[in-house]
Symmetry: C2
Subunit: 316 residues, 2 copies
């Protein structure tokens, strides 16, 4: 066992997930432990170090085989210097994460934001394997995004490339305010939160729908009702799909990626959702810009973060 391995860590508000990948992006094993964010930045760093050392040992590797450690974290980052300027869910500010981890681990550490890292995971070793130019969407509480060019995360001037959830795409007359303060953002209609909001609005309006009988409405129930023929639910899911398709059409003539990869909870709706997205994309995209371009489901699920974090070492 002398091959080089790459360790990824996905830092969440309650848990830290670490994983070991081969140079080809194959995920060998994962391990998860508590973040203990309430104990402050030093404890978070100590925990990352502990879990990383543990997974390397648990997979029977020596420390000399570690090619580097990548970190995916939600928040505002100074990516080149690996500084967490502010992370809401960890409640930390101005933490030189890269430096602190390199001091303790003695290997190269790279830090990037969770959406970029998940996109890199899918592009490197998931639904985008072998495809150099991908754009990834994660449909969850919000709509996350990441742009991969030449197999690497593309950050843009302000690190805002791939902030697809905040593409203002809903026409003014139908637009509502986003949590970001703007109106008409993609995530107001195509996230789980957006779908739930539209469903609750429909129920409150008195629209005739089976959703009015569901006590604690989640996006999955709206999608299931749509699949079963509930017209109100179908219209809501179609609206989520419509604006995803429109945003991809806009992206097809700016970035012109080869593949769009869509993951997150809402994407579990499968081809019922994807076929609607594909139809809208086809309608609003020039023939030359869509030729051979695919819209596919993410394949790594919750492991996209650890895989992409490990990939930071080779692909950033």
């Amino acid at each position: 066992m002398s091959e080089t391995i790459y360790v990824g860590a996905d830092i969440g508000g309650t848990a830290i997930k670490v994983g070991v990948c081969s140079a080809a992006g194959d995920l060998l094993q994962t391990y998860e432990g508590p973040t203990e964010a309430s104990h402050g930045a030093d404890r978070i760093v100590d925990n990352i170090v502990k879990y990383v050392r543990h997974i390397v040992e648990a997979t029977g590797h020596s420390w000399e085989q570690v090619g580097g450690v990548g970190i995916g974290i939600a928040g505002f980052l100074d990516i080149p210097n690996g500084i967490v300027k502010f992370s809401n869910n960890l409640n930390i500010r101005n933490v030189p994460l890269k430096q602190m981890l390199e001091d303790q681990l003695g290997v190269t550490v790279k830090v990037n934001n969770d959406a970029n890292v998940a996109a890199l995971g899918e592009a490197w070793a998931g639904a985008g394997r072998g495809v150099p130019n991908c754009v990834c969407y994660t449909l969850g509480t919000g709509v996350g995004g990441g742009v991969i060019i030449g197999g690497r995360i593309y950050e843009g001037y302000n690190g805002m490339a791939g902030e697809l959830g905040h593409m203002s795409i809903v026409p003014d007359l139908e637009a509502i305010q986003c949590t970001c303060g703007m109106t008409g953002c993609l995530e107001t209609v195509s996230s789980a939160t957006g779908i739930i909001r539209m469903a609750k609005d429909a129920v409150a309006r008195g629209d005739k729908t089976s959703l009015s009988l569901v006590p604690n409405l989640m996006a999955k129930e709206v999608i299931d009702a749509a699949k079963e023929g509930d017209e109100v639910a179908a219209r809501i899911v179609n609206r989520a799909a419509y604006y995803l398709g429109r945003s991809m059409a806009a992206t097809a003539v700016t970035l012109n990626p080869q593949r769009f990869i869509v993951g997150g909870g809402v994407a579990k709706a499968g081809d019922f959702l994807f076929d609607q997205i594909r139809e809208v994309f086809a309608k609003y995209t020039q023939p030359e810009a869509k030729e051979g371009v695919e819209i596919v489901a993410a394949t790594l699920g919750n492991n996209a973060g650890v895989v992409g974090a490990a990939g930071l070492i080779l692909r950033s």
Copy 2:
């Protein structure tokens, strides 16, 4: 005089313009001669060779100083191989332009499309000098575009990156068909053609406007009337500016460029137009994605093509 020079050629339907640039992108001199496209591909190639040799000699350089020759041409291209698959305005098909020119000139030749080349010219030595990531718009008969990443033309999967004129951005209810066959393309409202069409429609509808007195309506007259307070003309120019601003807002969260550069005839409207674009961009773009991002006028005018063509040698 031993410095290396770079020659660019901008191949139009009636004229070929050639120019000599320094390694810094400074344009030393230009020369223009007829394309003679009706005589076929061989004649076009012979003319390019003749004009290129002429400008090198005329500027007092020796052939040994030529670092390469770049070609900008409108049409469907196989860019890596420098083959013109089809050019409508030259009426040629499947011409191995790069190979034919390299055989005659004995130096490296690179070929790219006119919109990409104009964008590279501005980015390299015009309004984007020193800025690695730019997105360029040319507002003329259509809306051309080009994406520069890391100082180089970014083509995307199908060479369609930067086809900004065909971003479908006008909502369905207001959208008209584009020459490309789709509906709602940016160029239906933000090109000179789009502005003239909207003005003619307004006149035909009987809207109260000074434009109804203008016999041969051009975009300039619409812009001038708008500046002079004609409300109908002002609404038309605002609509052109609005969708430009919206398309830039969409681009700010996909490519997140540092600078948007706008050239072409319509851009001569100056700050009257630019201020409206900037206002819309500011309204529909997340604070982080617009911070420090500028929307500026192109500076090279009709020379962007030759400068960018010369730049292909160093920047592609």
